[in-house]
């Protein structure tokens, strides 16, 4: 099923000329209305009229998350506040949050893209959507909510937390679609098991999961434990929220980016150069329909590659590969780049090991140390020390073989690693920031 045939299956040539027209309008607008962009363009010696083809996009400067922080709260708004109908903000782990304002048309477009996303994920009117994304400043809850309503599904605005009640409602109301973070879906399964509820027997058929990077193995785990199709959705609060891209249920292979609203590029995160088609690098997004805060070449920090081959679902929009991680999440341990998702897949490939882990990085003298805490469950537990030591040695060896990093493995009791009700906190970096 396709929500908006006209746009989702637009032939690529037509899509490209639409992109160019919208890009030119966006560049004109930010140059006229946002002093930050006017300065940037002037410094680079570029005028809006220089954008004559999509290739000219590469000549424009990047926008960084820091630029949004520096413009706190309203510095990047391209329309007067009277035209802003909603303001969201992303939680800043350090300092000020980043603020995003939406015009009425922005909300309308967002709703449209979420409606496309729900339908691409195999949901439709008649579905009961259990929306466990947080409602509030975070974009997840409201973004999913509006899209689900537009599709005509029945939305249960659960928000996060209160897991036992979530399970009760899921059971009693007959929820068919779950929207939350992937780690929360596993947490729900775990609490269900503790409560004696067979979550596999509920009416749930699809989970639309996002807001944190997750691996293919984790998908398998979620699909098995909840007996659902687990669909990856992509979004960033700076760009829109959820609904920037989604996997189609037909292929479950790469996330379609809605290219009539966004132009994706892949760059080398070190040099900023655009990489040849198909290479892996940092995703950069230019918004071409946004009014509140249009962003030119926003650096997402997400590592992926673009898939331009046609998809079996019939949509013509390019896909991004499932994220390998966020370049912000990348850990440099004794000079080796490591993503938490890589460690996760090593753990998943060891029989019986569950995806509950935490990474602790310390500095011992001049040396970084990585400790992986893994929970022991009844499947991996043995009453013989040597077997448990064998398990930690195996994890250690597999990590060393696959990632080239030496680590220490600490086996911990079940449920000692904090379960996430929102995003999972996988990494604790205790290294002092060098000044």
């Amino acid at each position: 099923m396709i929500w908006n045939d006209d746009f989702e299956t637009l032939p690529r040539e037509a899509l490209k000329s639409l992109q160019l027209k919208r890009l030119q309008q966006t560049v004109e607008k930010v140059y006229a209305a946002v002093p930050f962009y006017r300065n940037c363009f002037d410094k680079s010696g570029i005028k809006p009229a220089d954008i004559k083809s999509l290739d000219d996009l590469q000549r424009l400067p990047f926008t960084l998350k820091q630029d949004m922080r520096d413009s706190y709260p309203y510095g990047l708004f391209a329309v007067p506040l009277e035209q802003i109908v909603r303001i969201h903000a992303s939680s800043g782990t350090t300092g000020k949050p980043t603020v995003v304002g939406y015009s009425r048309r922005d909300i309308d477009n967002w709703t449209e893209l979420m409606a496309r996303s729900f339908v691409a994920a195999g949901t439709n009117r008649g579905d009961i959507i259990h929306n466990a994304y947080g409602y509030g400043l975070f974009t997840g809850g409201l973004g999913a909510h509006y899209g689900a309503e537009r599709v005509g599904a029945s939305v249960i605005p659960m928000s996060g937390g209160n897991t036992k009640k979530q399970l009760m409602i899921m059971h009693d109301f007959g929820s068919t679609v779950l929207t939350c973070t992937p780690s929360y879906s596993l947490y729900l399964a775990e609490v269900a098991a503790d409560e004696g509820i067979d979550i596999r027997q509920l009416k749930l058929k699809v989970g639309i999961l996002g807001a944190e990077p997750w691996s293919e193995n984790m998908r398998q785990e979620i699909e098995n434990k909840l007996n659902i199709k687990a669909i990856d959705i992509y979004g960033l609060s700076e760009i829109l929220g959820p609904g920037v891209g989604i996997e189609c249920i037909e292929a479950q292979n790469g996330l379609h980016i809605w290219e009539d609203h966004f132009i994706p590029e892949i760059i080398d995160p070190e040099t900023g150069e655009v990489l040849p088609d198909g290479e892996k690098g940092e995703l950069v997004i230019t918004t071409i329909t946004k009014e509140g805060i249009p962003l030119i070449r926003y650096r997402t920090r997400d590592i992926t590659r673009l898939i331009k081959e046609p998809c079996i679902c019939g949509r013509t929009h390019a896909r991004i590969e499932r994220l390998s991680g966020r370049s912000d999440d990348m850990m440099i341990i004794r000079g080796v780049n490591v993503f938490p998702s890589q460690i996760e897949s090593v753990l998943f490939n060891i029989e019986g090991v569950e995806p509950h882990y935490q990474l602790i990085i310390e500095r011992d003298g001049n040396l970084d140390t990585l400790e992986i805490q893994v929970e022991v469950n009844e499947q991996t537990f043995s009453d013989e020390i040597k077997i448990l030591q064998g398990l930690s040695n195996k994890i250690k060896k597999d990590i060393k073989d696959l990632l080239g990093v030496t680590c220490k493995v600490r086996l911990v009791e079940p449920k000692t690693i904090a379960r996430s009700e929102g995003k999972a906190r996988r990494v604790i970096d205790n290294r002092q920031k060098e000044s």
């Binding site: 022991v376 469950n377 009844e378 537990f381 043995s382 009453d383 013989e384 020390i385 448990l388 030591q389 600490r410 086996l411 911990v412 009791e413 079940p414 449920k415 000692t416």
Partner: protein, 143 residues
């Protein structure tokens, strides 16, 4: 003859051991024998209790990782060479002792040794054939 033993995974954190014994005590379960094997990070607590099924249930409810293994108990005369004889018999029959621990019976002069083998049936046969007295399960769980 086989005795049910409960093994519990515990991290080396202060107070963890007391939590286990506390859970058992609160539920009226008596500990008959106990041994702790540990490494720098974690330990395995092995227990023989008077009601292992109930112990398993209450420990699982408290989120402990537990398992049941089968061991045997042998009464060893409190005289020189008592243990050596037993170990020699096992050695000759090619059975490996994974671990063992001892305690003293309340009433008698015997030390009781709990053995965990790689092949418990083979071990029982070898010991029985050589006249070693394997204690009945009830005798151990009711010590």
């Amino acid at each position: 003859m086989k005795v049910e033993q409960i093994s519990i995974f515990i991290e080396n954190k202060s107070g963890r051991l007391a939590e286990v014994t506390g859970v058992l005590g609160d539920n009226g379960i008596n500990i008959r024998a106990l041994s702790l094997a540990d490494t720098s990070d974690f330990g395995i607590l092995r227990l023989i209790v008077d009601d292992s099924e109930k112990a398993l249930k209450v420990l699982r409810e408290q989120q402990f990782t537990v398992s049941i293994t089968h061991v045997i108990g042998v009464a060893v005369p409190d005289s020189p060479g008592g243990l050596t004889t037993i170990l020699q018999i096992l050695d000759k029959s090619g059975v490996n002792v994974e671990y063992m621990y001892a305690f003293v019976e309340r009433s008698g002069d015997n030390a009781v040794i709990i053995f965990r083998f790689d092949d418990i049936d083979e071990a029982i046969t070898a010991l029985a054939n050589n006249g070693i007295n394997i204690l009945p399960s009830e005798r151990i769980t009711s010590i």
